[in-house]
Symmetry: C2
Subunit: 342 residues, 2 copies
DNA sequence: CTGAAAGCGCTAACAA
DNA sequence: TTGTTAGCGCTTTCAG
């Protein structure tokens, strides 16, 4: 681990000169510069970035806090963040909250202590106050797709128009003829906090004259397995739904598997609609009807917005993207006959 | 951003005392200690971890380099790593190589410059020399599931017994009666480097007397889409295979979709076998027969091994886990009649 | 039990 | 153009 002093000594100059020569920030005699370069090269010198950070006050690192990186949704998010950060010379350290609010708060604290230059947080199970806390501590923070009833009280956020999104779904289902619709709503491991998407959906269904039967409201924890269980449960009701809206695609895929295992055909006997549009959603069978979130674009924007905040520019308006409904083959009018597809 | 000096001043002591009091490392008068605690509390003091790192020489950060976090396989890996690191007080900064070797090398360099305490690298498209380079630079590094023909020349690695794994698959297929088997082999974006799993599979098929027809060897880039394309291609051959082994589940799922779209029934007309056993693989239709890798356990071990290396213990033997074949419904004897399942 | 002093590796003014 | 000096915030001997 050669230090800057080692190369200074080797080159017969002072550390400051080496610093300048290597960074190309100031002006250095061409010959000495080349000599320094050569010495650095020979010694295999690599600047110690933490030392640099201590003096410069920036780490070129951003934090990414997600619920559970195992969900492909967050995977796609993480890639977008990492790639756009990378291009700007930033690295990202990530952490999973697993839906645990207090862990989430600790994580934000820790990231701040590590002097990350900024933080991106994907809401899932993160308390608004924790987010505000980090902001207060002076770390730029961009909450993304905040999806809880309470407002996070932060201006610079990036998200989608949940209201429009679920309205799309509700109207689609009602127009298709569905009257009895079930919900698989995502919730954290411990609490029953209701996300905006599900509550807005419920509200819209009521508006359209077909309120959700509370017996058809099932909460789950954002996994295939819990989606599956919820599906089986819903389908086992005395009066099962003709359609199920799942809070995300992962759970929707679980629901479809549950239907299969209980002999319920999708979409002939059950319509399933998800939310996210994962890459895999068009490859499952039947291909899943879902709400498409432009994840990559959204997160690229979120990251760029964060970078601007870090650079001290003040970014005015929160970004809100418009989701679209992508209709595939997991949806059909209720009671559609089996088409004998072969 | 109160510093340790601020709280020292507030408490009427010196920074050294504050340091000791807060860390509980030395002995401090009980009353002064409490007083210091209170002052720190009031000022909202948080130690600056990069400053600490500079003096202690450790960052409590590990690097994780994967191919593409979007693949649920890496997502599951990343979770396991992050969670076990978290428990030990470490954070993880991750990076995607996207199959780019030179990017991968740069990433390792950068992580080293950032003074991460150690690195975990999931082989996909990473050059052995880059890995060795980082090791040389003194950063403990644990390559996981190294899956390329060439040896990485590093003792402390964690992986699975690929040979056994694919032998399982080959024997399973042959015993089922398949003679004409296709392969969807994963490769990086630019090169055609062959992974061990596919080549070992090919070798075993030859051993069993049914060598793979080169026309049935298709390379793809580890995505659903490329798996799909490969599947269509293979199925369009004059003499299509009766079974396809995909280098991973993601591609296998793509292959199944291709079969569907070309009117080929799985498993009646085509057997598909994957590799990884993703969470989603048992929820797709038909549920995928695949090689189960104990990802979570494996990566937890890898992380713990890394932590030991960091602690200076020298870990003797490389860890190798035994994968198992999990037979689900995407496999059947060739030419199996449609069972008219309803 | 507490303070003084030095140092981690680097950058940034300011002098020379 | 290069060197000197100081300092980022913390920890760690070593004295007192």
């Amino acid at each position: 681990m050669a230090t800057i002093y080692d190369v200074a000594r080797a080159a017969g100059v002072t550390a400051a000169t080496v610093s300048v020569a290597l960074s190309g920030r100031g002006v250095v005699n061409r010959k000495t510069r080349e000599h320094i370069l050569r010495c650095a090269e020979e010694l295999g010198y690599r600047p110690n970035l933490v030392a640099r950070s201590l003096t410069t006050g920036v780490t070129h690192t951003i934090g990414l806090v997600v619920m559970d990186i195992t969900n492909p949704f967050y995977g796609e998010v993480a890639l977008a963040v990492e790639q756009t950060a990378l291009r700007a010379g930033y690295r990202v350290t990530f952490a999973n909250t697993m839906g645990d609010e207090s862990l989430g708060a600790d994580l934000l604290d820790d990231l701040a202590a590590r002097q990350v230059d900024g933080i991106i947080v994907m809401a899932g199970g993160m308390s608004a106050s924790a987010v505000r806390g980090a902001a207060t501590r002076g770390v730029p923070i961009v909450p993304c797709m905040w999806d809880e009833e309470e407002d996070h009280g932060l201006v610079t956020s990036v998200g989608i128009d949940f209201y429009t999104a679920v309205r799309l779904v509700a109207d689609f289902l009602v127009d298709l003829g569905h009257r009895r619709v079930g919900i698989v709503a995502m919730c954290g491991p411990d609490d029953e906090k209701i996300r905006m998407r599900e509550s807005a959906f419920r509200d819209r269904m009521a508006e359209r004259g077909f309120p959700i039967d509370p017996a058809l409201w099932h909460t789950a924890h954002d996994t295939l397995e819990t989606g599956y269980v919820a599906g089986r449960d819903l389908l086992a009701r005395p009066e099962p739904p003709t359609a199920i809206f799942a809070g995300n695609d992962v759970m929707a895929i679980g629901v479809m598997a549950a239907a299969r295992d209980t002999g319920v055909r999708v979409p002939d006997q059950l319509t399933v609609v998800g939310f996210d549009d994962l890459a895999v959603s068009r490859y499952v069978f039947p291909p899943l009807t879902t709400v498409r979130i432009p994840k990559a674009e959204l997160m690229a924007q979120a990251t760029e917005l964060l970078l601007k905040l870090i650079a001290g520019e003040d970014v005015a308006t929160p970004v809100s993207m418009v989701p679209t409904l992508v209709v595939r083959e997991s949806s059909a009018p209720p009671g559609a006959r089996d088409l004998e597809r072969r």
